[in-house]
């Protein structure tokens, strides 16, 4: 018997192995959900190895991609940065368009509100000195403008045209010391002359007995032949008088922010 087994050792071993494999397989087919001890042990043993290999592979891949294989990276980086710059510029432009649209809409609303024919213009430069308050707009005699026409924005009076050339005009702002306009205190109807004082306005010839209080709105009176009646000039900031004076000193904050003028409306036929 032993002789026989020794003689057919190899085929017998093969058969045994196949049989064992078949038996285990068939028995595992019936108990599918369970994890055997063997499987568990293998998984447990291989997990650090698998993890290590995986990490090493990923690190190597990452090193290769990020530090060694960089043929296209510079090109791609340049391309993306260029694209980023373009997009930023476009975004800035869109923001600027949105703000401009808002301003122009307000100007258009004012244009529809006013009964006069008007012309929109863009401010292109400021006064060459800091003493005088003038700005230059991009419309001139070719567009129908002439000296003396009033200029407004939705917030109120800007000034009047001082000099006109074919395609440009200079506006004397209401805050210039040589600017004067006839005004009314809206609440009490007191009359005065509004003069510029650089950054603020003052009311000249406002009688001391007139009722003028802080916060009162100042509007154009329509006298003087330049500004139509009812345009906002500013708000009373301070009043001061003593009993001996005939007139009171009234300081007015302009309604318009003259340092941020961008688009203006010129009133073409504003004679009251």
């Amino acid at each position: 018997m032993l002789e026989l087994i020794r003689k057919y050792r190899t085929p017998l071993l093969v058969v045994c192995l196949v049989m064992t494999a078949l038996l285990i397989y068939s028995s595992r087919l019936r108990q599918k959900p369970d994890t055997t001890l063997f499987e568990k042990a293998v998984l447990q043993l291989t997990s650090p190895l698998l993890g290590g290999v995986d990490t090493a592979t990923r690190t190597a891949g990452s090193l290769w991609r990020h530090y060694l294989w960089l043929i296209d990276t510079q090109k791609e980086n340049d391309h993306l940065q260029e694209k980023n710059r373009h997009l930023r510029a476009r975004l800035d432009k869109v923001r600027e368009y949105r703000l401009e649209n808002r301003r122009l809409s307000e100007l258009l609303a004012l244009r529809e509100r006013l009964k006069f024919s008007t012309l929109a213009a863009r401010v292109i430069a400021a006064d060459a000195t800091s003493l005088f308050q003038t700005v230059i707009i991009d419309r001139g005699t070719e567009d129908g403008l002439h000296e003396g026409l009033p200029v407004v924005v939705p917030e109120g009076v800007v000034g009047r045209i001082l000099r006109c050339s074919a395609h440009q005009s200079r506006i004397l702002l209401a805050t210039d010391a040589s600017s004067a306009m006839a005004v009314l205190v809206q609440r009490s109807r007191a009359r005065a002359v509004c003069r510029g004082r650089g950054q603020t306005l003052v009311l000249d010839f406002a009688l001391a007995k007139e009722d003028i209080a802080v916060g009162d709105r100042i509007i154009t009176s329509g006298y003087g032949g330049i500004f139509p009646k009812g345009l906002t000039v500013g708000t009373v900031r301070r009043t001061q008088f003593n009993d001996l004076d005939m007139f009171q000193t009234v300081t007015v904050t302009p309604a318009v922010n003259f340092s941020r003028l961008e688009e203006v409306l010129v009133l073409l036929d504003s004679q009251p």
Partner: protein, 167 residues
């Protein structure tokens, strides 16, 4: 004529720069004043007089409401400086800084006089007096930049001249 034209071209560039600068709390630098002071130090009355008056008129076209105001002011400044220019060392860089100080003060005084006594509205004097310290500082800064730029240009011109000579 060529020199006059050169001064006017530089003046035009300066005045355009001034109009493009936004209104600042300390005022705008008066670049034309620098030019008028240079005229006062270097040019004779036959050229410097008309040039300074024309430069003032150039400024008047883009500032204020009366043509000729700055023309008169710059002419007076030029004549004042010209009358003492012979006693000054025009090569000294410190002189320009002193002249800027004196010129700004004198310009303010002449402006107050001109606007107060010759024009119908006399309320500008408050603004001129209030703005004077800021204007002095800004003009001094502009003069310093002007001096630095001119010395840099001079040294580079010398350098390139030497290079050109060698080749």
């Amino acid at each position: 004529m060529k020199t006059l034209l050169t001064y006017l071209i530089i003046g035009t560039v300066f005045v355009v720069i001034e109009t493009l600068l936004p209104q600042m709390p300390f005022g705008k630098p008066n670049l034309l004043l620098l030019l008028v002071l240079t005229l006062g130090l270097k040019e004779k009355v036959s050229l410097g007089g008309p040039a300074s008056w024309l430069l003032g008129c150039l400024q008047d076209s883009l500032a204020g409401s009366t043509l000729g105001l700055f023309g008169l002011v710059y002419l007076i400044l030029y004549l004042c400086l010209r009358s003492v220019a012979g006693h000054l060392n025009s090569e000294s860089p410190a002189l320009l800084l002193f002249l800027i100080l004196a010129g700004t003060l004198l310009q303010g005084m002449v402006l107050i006089f001109t606007l107060g006594f010759l024009a119908e509205h006399g309320t500008y004097w408050r603004q001129i007096v209030a703005a004077l310290p800021g204007q002095l500082a800004v003009n001094l800064l502009a003069a310093l930049i002007f001096l630095q730029t001119s010395s840099w240009l001079r040294s580079h011109a010398r350098h390139f001249g030497r290079k050109g000579g060698l080749s």
